[in-house]
């Protein structure tokens, strides 16, 4: 085994920070920082999902907020029904159990991503960007104009949903749950990238014709990647709803889709820890600048512009150099 690459070291540092800082915060009673770290973890998870489509497959989905929001609404709607003792559609029982909610969120996002992906993937390039955006807007406007679950005002969860054996109302246990999910998703990403499927997907990004010419149909590879990607982002949405105990159409908005892309590019697209580095920087930036000025988004825009113009490859790219495929 060769010496550890700089990217591996950077990843190790990030992982350590993500675990140690909240533990320290818990020890010193600063629960606010645990919440901040939980926010980082969940946004990183959402972006990690998008990174499967965007980073590996080159599919610039500008509509992943649709899945983030859908996951959130699954958590919100199931919990609300359970709280009110109402059954769901077809008399199915509602639940406040996180594992069940996650499963429903993941399956629903997969089901919705299938037709959206199948139509969007008939196109490519700019068309793909705009069509995914338009589908997300469709779901956004539906949520805004459907009053049963709060419409424009959103939907509050009275208490955080439950996880067997864990007190989710406490910030630290909930953080650890989210961190475990992120770790599992990162493993999934790592396995996918190294697998035959990942090889085909990365080839599709680099050269679709090449993939066809060896006899692999790019459409199916991309569609499966899009669906998996949506499922992971949907799971993050369910966690996000529980973190804030609130869902609203803003989770479905085009700004959210843009933010997810920003997280990936900030960190470094296609990299295992890219979304995590991106989410850390983004949330901390928002927190630090937000404390100084209301106009923090103005400065975020400037930084972002600087990254696009001058730091291609994102922050991990700056630290670790160009990505290489072995």
């Amino acid at each position: 085994m060769a010496a550890l690459s700089r990217e591996t070291i950077a990843n190790g540092v990030l992982a350590l920070l993500l675990l140690v800082v909240p533990l320290l915060a818990a020890a010193s009673g600063e629960t606010f920082y645990i919440t901040l770290a939980t926010r980082i973890v969940i946004l990183a998870l959402a972006a990690l999902g998008l990174n499967i489509a965007l980073g590996l497959g080159g599919l610039v989905s500008f509509g992943h907020a649709a899945f983030f929001g859908l996951g959130g609404y699954v958590a919100g709607i199931l919990a609300t029904h359970a709280f009110n003792g109402e059954a769901l559609l077809f008399g199915l029982p509602a639940t406040t159990s996180m594992p069940v909610i996650w499963l429903v969120a993941v399956l629903l996002c997969g089901l919705v991503a299938l037709p959206i992906g199948a139509i969007s993937l008939r196109t490519s390039g700019v068309y793909f960007i705009m069509i995914t955006l338009a589908f997300a807007q469709m779901i956004y406007y539906f949520a805004v104009s459907w009053p049963d679950y709060g419409g424009e005002d959103g939907l509050s969860l009275y208490v955080r949903n439950t996880f067997p054996g864990v007190n989710t109302a406490q910030p630290l246990p909930y953080f650890l749950i989210c961190l475990a999910v992120l770790a599992a998703a990162a493993c999934l990403f790592w396995l996918l990238r190294g697998s035959r499927f990942g090889a085909a997907l990365e080839a599709a990004r680099q050269n679709t014709t090449r993939l066809s010419a060896v006899g692999i149909a790019p459409f199916r590879i991309k569609l499966v990647a899009f669906v998996i990607s949506a499922m992971v982002t949907g799971l993050a949405g369910a966690l996000f709803a529980d973190l804030n105990r609130f869902v609203s159409p803003s989770m479905l908005s085009w700004q959210m889709s843009g933010e997810l892309i920003v997280l990936i590019i900030l960190g470094g697209k296609g990299r295992l820890f890219g979304p995590i580095a991106g989410a850390m920087v983004y949330v901390l930036f928002e927190y630090a600048l937000g404390g100084i000025t209301e106009r923090w988004q103005f400065f975020l825009g400037l930084v972002l512009l600087g990254v696009v113009l001058f730091a291609r490859g994102g922050l991990l790219g700056l630290v670790a150099g160009r990505a290489r495929h072995g």
Binding site: V60, A134, I265, L302
Partner: protein, 306 residues
């Protein structure tokens, strides 16, 4: 439901379509000539609206405000092109999306900084106040008719510009062959700046005109931008003709959907639910239309045509 009401709704749809055409025309032109996807195009529309509202309030004249909106949007567009966009033509679409997303943040917050968070209002100029009788009874706002008229004039003007003038010839050449046009000795950088400024001015014009119908505020640009995306995706990216057809289609389908769908749903559901279901369906309608069109024509209705 009277004939006059339907005509009124159709005209509303047409007016929305015309507004969308003004925004989409610039977007599609910029994409067609430079291959650039500009999310900040909606911000140019917003700049036009703010410039018009602010100058009209200061001078008391809508018309001076309108002129100011054209100048401000074109100048902002030219500046944007020279300072930033120019560096991104050779980059992939993802970088373009991201950089213009950053520009939206900067321009939106910057505008809020300058004008505060409260919306501005713009009055319809006295010349265009009042209403015109419609056939079959009823009346229609003169101002909205004027917007439709302006849209038709712009469409004709763009057609003449692109098919009859030297600038148009260069634009067409630039679409097909950048190297050839450079070899002809045309200063391609200036051409790009001019095209960008022209597109920006059209968006600014749309913003100024719509400012008298709704409040002028930060965030008004992006819903319009996304509708304009739907328009050019339906029409075929790069095609002005496609932008016109797509814009009218989206404007009319959206307006008529909001008008008719709740009534249709009411035939099947109780009235209380019908309004809600109808409204929810209507808000999704144009996206459904877009998906259907793309399922059969993935590159839009007029892909690859001028």
């Amino acid at each position: 439901m009277t004939a006059a009401l339907i005509i009124e709704q159709l005209l509303n749809g047409l007016q929305l379509g015309v507004m969308l055409f003004l925004i989409a025309a610039g977007l599609t032109l910029i994409f067609g000539v430079m291959g650039f996807i500009n999310l900040a195009h909606g911000s140019l529309y917003m700049i036009g609206a703010f410039a018009c509202a602010a100058i009209a309030a200061a001078t008391g004249s809508f018309w001076i405000g309108l002129a100011a909106s054209l100048v401000a949007a074109a100048a902002a567009g030219a500046l944007m092109e020279v300072a930033i966009v120019r560096r991104l033509y050779e980059r992939d679409h993802l970088d373009q999306v991201l950089a213009t997303f950053a520009l939206i943040l900067i321009l939106s917050e910057g505008t809020r900084w300058l004008f505060g968070s409260f919306p501005l209002y713009l009055d319809i100029p006295p010349l265009l106040q009042g209403a015109v009788p419609l056939p079959g009874g009823g009346q229609y706002q003169l101002y909205r008719l004027a917007i439709i008229g302006v849209g038709i004039l712009v469409a004709i003007g763009l057609y003449l510009l692109i098919s009859r003038t030297r600038l148009g010839m260069r634009i067409r050449a630039g679409e097909t062959d950048r190297e050839m046009i450079a070899a002809l000795g045309v200063d391609i950088r200036t051409l790009y700046t001019v095209v960008f400024a022209l597109g920006a001015a059209l968006a600014g014009l749309a913003g100024a005109m719509v400012g008298a119908l709704q409040s002028v505020q930060v965030g008004m640009g992006e819903p319009a931008l996304i509708l304009a995306f739907v328009v050019i995706v339906i029409g075929g990216i790069g095609s002005i003709k496609g932008a016109l057809v797509g814009a009218i289609l989206v404007g009319v389908v959206d307006t008529m959907g909001r008008f008719l769908l709740p009534k249709l749903v009411a035939l099947a559901l109780p009235a209380s639910q019908a309004t809600m279901v109808g409204a929810a369906l209507a808000s999704m309608l144009i996206y459904v239309v877009m998906a259907l069109i793309l399922a059969f024509r993935p590159r839009g209705l007029f892909a690859g045509q001028g």
